[in-house]
Each structure stands twice: as structure tokens, then as C-alpha cells.
Amino acid sequence: MTPVLELTGITKQFPGVLANDHIDLKLEKGEILALLGENGAGKSTLMNILYGLYQPDSGTIFVNGKQIDVHSSIDAIRAGIGMVHQHFMLIPVFTVTDNVMLGEESLVLGDFLDRKTAAARIRKISEQYNLDVDPNAMVGDLPVGVQQRVEIIKLLYRDASILIFDEPTAVLTPQEADELFKIMRSLSEQGKSIIFITHKLREVLEYSDRIMVIRRGKVIGETTPSDADQEKLAEMMVGRAVNLNQDKKKAQKGEIVLQAKDLVVADSTKKITVHSITFTLYSGEILGIAGVQGNGQTELEEAVTGMRDFESGEIQISGKVIRKIKPREFVEAGGAHVPEDRQRDGLILSFPVEDNLMLCTYYKPPFSINGILDRKEIRRNAQTLISEFDVRTPSPLTDVGTLSGGNQQKVIVARELSRNNRLIVASQPTRGLDVGSIEYIHGQLLKKRDEGCGILLISSELDEIMELSDRILVMYKGEAIVTVDADAVSKSEIGLYMAGISQQRIPGSSETAAEKSSMGE
């Protein structure tokens, strides 16, 4: 049988980088192929070539055995290829119907839009493929997971038979990701062929039919989930053995560095999202805050670091009671903050790396003397940190926004951990990063712990929480439903707590426990 899609010898040279080096790829009908590789390995370039956004230097594309030329995304759409971009191509102020039919409008009376017919078609598609969406909803009001469904419907509306997903889970909560993979499976069962790009090992092993690994623009190898495991895939991806499980010494707990008492925090719509939380963080330990995204962790993080006022309760940093804290006071009290949204709260994207590396203390010596910046010192600081934290940047003067996600995160980690701090608040520190960077950042956090820092680790990745934490606090609907020692609890138990099932009510059934444990991916 001819493959639905075949790429042969695709090569693409960017200035200074050979992004794709004679890549061959075959996709069979009804298959889910995972394209695995680190950030910058050339996966997205390959897919952008296939989708007509880039032109290859050489190589050919066959669809159903016929060679096609793809000069623009329209050519790709005509050939039945559709792409769900990592950053959605949706217009928030348009309805689902308008978004879906844009470019392929149903019309009446000449140029008037026939929204009814289009909406009916969308309903039909959403029933056929189990993509629950209200055609009349405004896209901007929908949760990210549903927006992604709209993107998929957009492709199906154009009768795409080959679907490309670019890092589809990067923006999703674990539940939404589970839901997405169910949808992908149902699509493949109905004859659609799927390529999904990712760097998350677990997804690949659980949900793909076949795995292709790319490193530095070359195909490294192919395997199937039954023949591979995480270690093997990580090694293929990175090119060296990766330590997926950090060696962890026993925590040496010291004095209290952070204490929250009956903390109540409201979000920007004045809804109370943190209900009277109390916890204590000691020096030399990592306290993991586990929980499904959106259970108040973000507001807790913001309240502790001074980015948001809290309504009532008390925060103590190193024994000092703070009623109203500002980010600068947090920094001055010895706090470091790795924020959840690194591009919004952690960096100034249009500033060079060297300026971003001194953002918290720019107003103090050595960076600033009598209100004048000392450029030499700033450069020296940047050079030290860039080499110490292995930030891959062309120069200290490169805008931080042009770096890859992993390197952006390294800039933040370098800035925050290089200060002499007692307290680190790290929220989703490895979200969207590849295994190499995750390994590195985990190592740095553990190193700081061993040096006597108290670390508050907020993460919705259960694996990360289990691996790094000494104690775990599980948040559910704004409440701390349990605080336990990490050694005394299993992953499946934490999974149950995350679903809101409290201690007394944990059922003995091991089956449900195993099912819930997969929530952390």
C-alpha cells in the first residue's frame, strides 16, 4: 500500500544552521506518528516545509503516491494536509463558526455569510469526531483545550486527511492533554493520519504508533513504543545518556524561611481562589505544591512573591511578618522567583540577555552606582552567568526574546539562583522544556536545596513534584487538602488527592489509583 505521505531527502539550510539534513519520512493511513526531538532539532522546520510556510532547498513531497509542490499553506490544504499550530491561529473576538469558515466561507446572496449552514456543518463534524464545541461561542471565551478543538475542526472542515500537531500539549493541562489524545485516537480510527511533534517522552510512549527521533536536523532512528523506554528515547534525542532520576540526598532541614498562615487570595475577578492556606517552608528542603492547573496555585505563587495583594492571613519571610508585600521587598528579603509565565513575568523579551540577567538588582551596586548603570560590570556579570548556567546565546547583547524557550528559562534561573538567596519560589520551572534542559534545571534546584535554600516548587507535573520534593502539599479548589512527606506517599495517592479525594475517602481499589496516577504528565 502506498503511504499517505512520503517525504524524501528534505534539506533546509538556514544561515548558520542546517535545520533539515536529507530527511525521509513515511506516514501510513490511520497511523499516529510521533516526531520526537529536542527544541531546535528541526522538527518544526520539517513540518513548516510540509505546510508550505518554508521552501525546502531540496527534497520531494508525495501525497498518496503523487508528487506535489507546496508553495503556500493553501497548496498544503488542497493536498489534504492540515496543521494545528502551537500558537493557535484563531481570532479571539470571532465566533467558532467565523473562525472555522474563514477563507472557505459558505455564502448566500452573493457575498453574504451563511453562518447557519456553516454552523450546521461544524456541529456535524463535532459529532462525528467527538469534538464538543458550541459553534456560536466566542473563541476568546473558551478554555485552551477547547480552542485547540476548534483548530482541529478547522482542518476537518477543509477535509484534511493528514493532520500535523505542533507541540499540542505544551499549552494544555494534563486533563486537556488526555482528552486531546483520545480525540487523536478517534481521528486515526476514522482513517485520518496524524503526525505529532513533541519532546515529551511519556506522551510518545503512551499514545503513538511509531516514533521517529530527530537530532540536529537528521533522522536518528525509528522505533515503536513497545520497543522503547524513556531512557532509550532520551538518549536518542539528546545524544548522550540522560539522568532522568536525579540522585537526591536526604534533606537537611534548618530554620523556617517562609511561613503562610490562613492565607486568603482572590484572583483578578475577585473570586477567592486560595482558601485559608497554611504552610511552613524550612531551609534545606523542597516543598512541592501539587495540583491540577487552576486550583489556586497561580494566585498562591503571586501572593507569596508580592505580585498580588492577599485578602487576609499572614506571610512571614525569615521570621519577619509581612502584611503587604511588594516584589522588591520579596527580593530584598532574600527571595528568588521563577515565575509561571516566563515571558510575561520573568523577562523583558526585547531587552538583551545581559540586561535581563540583572533585572532584580539593577538599582544597587555593583550594577548601578549613584543611579548610573555600570555597563562593564553588567557585561562581566552576564558573561559569568552565561558560562556558568550554560545559556546558549550568540552574545550577551542578543535580545532574550529570540532565544529558545529552554534558554530563556535558563536566563531566569541564572538570574534568580545566582543571587545569594534563602528562599526560592519556582512555578512550573520546566514547562515546555526538553529533557536536557529539564535535567539541568532540576539539578540546579537540588543544588540550591543542598546549599541550604528553602524551595517552594509549584508544578502541575506530578513526576516533577515526586522527583524533587521532600514534602508535598496538594491543592484542590484553593484548599490544601493534605501535606505529606514525599517518602511516605505514592504517586497514585497524590493523583487521587489532586482529583479532590481526601484522605479518609481514598478507596482501596488499585485500579482507580493507577488510572489517576497518569494525571501528572
Partner: protein
């Protein structure tokens, strides 16, 4: 699963609501204490209900007791203020704000015209006339910004249109040639703006400013060098008022709306075309998509550059049409700087109207009303210094933009050039 209801903090009245309530209270007191000072209960305010010189759709004069009306208006404002201050009107605040403004303005004209006669119909008719260029300018802004190009050169395009309309109209003695030349002038300047900001990705504010400066300079130069010496080149026929049979005979409304020149009818026609075009047709859907998320539109096969060129040039033709109103529709000649900032007020109307044609028209009428009120009041001769009265339209603009609009947001990609990878 545990089910808990979301808990909200209690913040019934926002500080903004309180400030608004406070302002309403002051307005109420102002009406009671300042306007309603020296009137006896016999004082009468007379409103003429037919514009001057019109014999169709006549309505008899409206006489009201000044003293009692001001009492009612003042107390009403006072009560609304108290309610707003204590409870707040929530999502109806803007509606209440409009209501309060109407009551206050009404009290004001009742006060000014006490013992005198004010032509209310004339006031409204001239408000509509004054609003036409503002609204057309706003429509030009909507077309451009909805497609993602900021156009602050509307003023310059209008000025160029006004001049070319007058010159060509005078030279050919044909108003239609004049109108065509005016629109073409606006269109060509728009082409330049599109070319600079879409192709060369020059900052759109800079490009717009350049066009405004060029236009002001060029029209002044031509006016003082040639039009002064050859007055025949600046004496154009005007578009006459055309009464629409039947409709023009409706009392009060007829003479105000249905006895006007081409420009007023054209404005209403454009309103309908734009309102439906933007939101009900493929043309509008694609235009708005390009202004919101050009990359998304591009991946679906919509030509972003072509769409933007089309929108900006259409906008330019509209601005030229608005410019023609000044020379061909109003005075029959060109004067230096005769657009007097109407293009900019048009932009304010666009923002106030949230980039929606119908609301932009209402905003334009509000600004036009402020304009015509200031001239009527200065004719009546009140005790308020003329300078303050002339400030009225601009004061309204500032209050509206600062107070009401506040959080409105335009098309997401407006002002950002699109770069294809």
C-alpha cells in the same frame, strides 16, 4: 468530587462608580443652584420646532416653564447621583451616563433660552450637518483600523479632498467632477499611506503625521499662491438640499433628516453598507480577520497585503468624500485649514463607537451636537463667556474618551505591519 461554590469578594460599588455618582450629584446641584437661580414661576422657555426657512413638516413651538423644568431635572440628577453613589448601576452605568448627560444638556438649554426662543429643530439639524464629516472620518478610520492599519492622516486627506473638490468643481462648473476629484485626492494620499506602512513598514503614526503636514502645507500654499489671485478657481457650485417627498413632511423629524444634501444621505447609505458589509459578508469577515490576526488569515489563504491596501484606499476615498462636504456641500469654496480637526474628532468618534459603524455614527452626532450647541448658545448671548462655550465640543471629546471609553480595545493587530516569514 467535592463541590464548592465559587466565593466572591464583596465589592458592590467600584471607585469609578462612586466618582460617577459624585459627579452626577454635583451636576444636579449645579442645575438647582446655578441654572435655577433667578427665575420666577412665570418664566417661559420657548423652543421652535421647525428649522428656519423651511415650510414643510412644520410643528408648533414648544413652551415650557423654566423654573419647574429645572427643578425636576435637578432633582432627577440628584436622585440618580445618590443611587449611583450608594448602589451603582453596574453594567448599565454607561446608559445612565448618557441619560444624565441628556438631562443636563437639556437643563442647560432650558436655562440659556429662558425668556427667549431657541430653535431646537435648527439646533438638531445643524448638529447632524456638523456631524457628517466627523462620522465619515470615523468610517474611514474604521475601514483602515479594522484591517490593521492605523490612519491618523484622515484630517490631511479631508483637507486635500476639500481643496481639490473646490478647484475642480470651480474649473469645470460641475459638482460631480469636483466630488470625483476630492475622492481621488483622498484616495491617492491613502495609497501613499498604505504604501509606506504596508510595503515599507514605516511606523504608521509617522506616516500619517507626514501626510497631515504635507496636506496642510500643500493646500495652504496653493490657496495663498493661486486661489487668492484667481478667485474663479475657488467658486464652486454646491450640492443642493433635496427634500425626499413624503418623508420630508413628517413634523419635526422630516425637515431635520429628510431635507438635506447628498452628503447626509450618502453618510446614511455608507452606514448601512459598512455595518452590514463588515459583519455579514465575506468581504468584512476577511477584512476583520486581517486586522485581528494577519498570520491566521494568511495561513488560510487570505492575501493580507492586498486586503490592507484595499481597505486603506477605500478609507481614503471616504475621507476625500468627507473633505468634499466642506467645500462642495457647505460653503462653496476652499479656506485654509477649513476641516479644523474634524478628522481627528472622527477618530475619537471611532474609538468611542468601539470601531462599530452604527455606534460611531451616534458618537459623531454627539460631537456634532456639542458643536452646534456652542454656536446656538453664543448667538443667544448667555452670561457664560464665549470661549468656554466654544470649548464645549472638545470638552465633550475629552470627557468621553477619558471617562466612558476607558477600557475599549480596537482590532488586535491594528498598527502592526505584517511580515511574512
Amino acid at each position: 468530587m467535592m463541590k464548592t461554590k465559587p466565593v466572591y469578594l464583596k465589592h458592590a460599588v467600584s471607585p469609578r462608580d462612586r466618582i460617577m455618582g459624585f459627579v452626577f450629584l454635583i451636576l444636579g446641584l449645579f442645575v438647582l443652584l446655578v441654572f435655577n437661580k433667578n427665575f420666577s414661576s412665570e418664566t417661559i422657555t420657548t423652543f421652535a420646532m421647525t428649522p428656519g426657512g423651511i415650510s414643510r413638516g412644520v410643528m408648533t413651538d414648544w413652551l415650557i416653564q423654566t423654573n419647574r423644568t429645572l427643578w425636576i431635572c435637578g432633582i432627577l440628577l440628584f436622585l440618580i447621583g445618590i443611587y449611583q453613589f450608594i448602589f451603582g448601576f453596574g453594567h448599565r452605568s454607561n446608559l445612565i451616563l448618557v441619560l444624565v448627560s441628556l438631562i443636563f444638556v437639556f437643563s442647560f438649554i432650558v436655562y440659556v433660552a429662558a425668556n427667549k426662543m431657541l430653535n431646537l429643530a435648527g439646533l438638531l439639524a445643524s448638529a447632524l450637518a456638523m456631524a457628517v464629516p466627523i462620522i465619515l472620518g470615523g468610517f474611514c478610520g474604521i475601514l483602515c483600523e479594522r484591517a490593521g492599519v492605523v490612519n491618523i492622516a484622515i484630517e490631511g486627506m479631508m483637507l486635500m479632498g476639500a481643496m481639490l473638490g473646490s478647484v475642480v468643481g470651480s474649473a469645470t462648473k460641475n459638482i460631480w467632477f469636483g466630488l470625483a476629484a476630492a475622492m481621488l485626492g483622498g484616495g491617492i494620499l491613502a495609497l501613499v499611506h498604505a504604501w509606506l506602512s504596508i510595503k515599507y513598514k514605516i511606523n504608521q503614526i509617522v506616516s500619517g503625521t507626514v501626510i497631515n503636514i504635507f496636506s496642510t502645507g500643500m493646500t495652504s500654499y496653493i490657496s495663498s499662491m493661486y486661489l487668492q489671485d484667481f478667485p474663479n478657481l475657488n467658486k464652486t457650485p454646491r450640492f443642493p438640499s433635496v427634500a425626499i417627498p413624503g418623508l420630508a413632511d413628517i413634523p419635526f423629524i422630516g425637515p431635520i433628516i429628510f431635507d438635506n444634501s447628498l452628503f447626509v444621505y450618502g453618510m446614511f447609505l455608507l452606514l448601512i453598507l459598512l455595518q452590514f458589509g463588515l459583519f455579514k459578508t465575506r468581504w468584512g469577515l476577511r477584512l476583520r480577520a486581517v486586522g485581528e490576526h494577519p498570520k491566521a488569515a494568511d495561513t488560510l489563504g487570505i492575501n493580507v497585503f492586498k486586503t490592507r491596501y484595499m481597505a486603506v484606499i477605500l478609507g481614503g476615498l471616504l475621507a476625500g468624500f468627507a473633505g468634499a462636504y466642506f467645500s462642495l456641500g457647505s460653503v462653496g469654496r476652499f479656506d485654509e485649514g477649513m476641516t479644523s480637526g474634524k478628522g481627528f474628532i472622527g477618530l475619537a468618534a471611532m474609538i468611542f463607537g468601539n470601531w462599530i459603524p452604527f455606534r460611531t455614527m451616534l458618537a459623531g452626532i454627539l460631537f456634532g451636537f456639542a458643536d452646534s450647541l456652542s454656536s446656538s448658545v453664543s448667538i443667544l448671548g448667555s452670561s457664560i463667556p464665549g470661549q468656554f462655550i466654544n470649548m464645549l465640543p472638545y470638552l465633550v471629546t475629552i470627557i468621553v474618551l477619558a471617562g466612558v471609553v476607558g477600557s475599549s480595545s480596537g482590532p488586535a493587530a491594528s498598527g502592526t505591519p505584517y511580515e511574512k516569514e
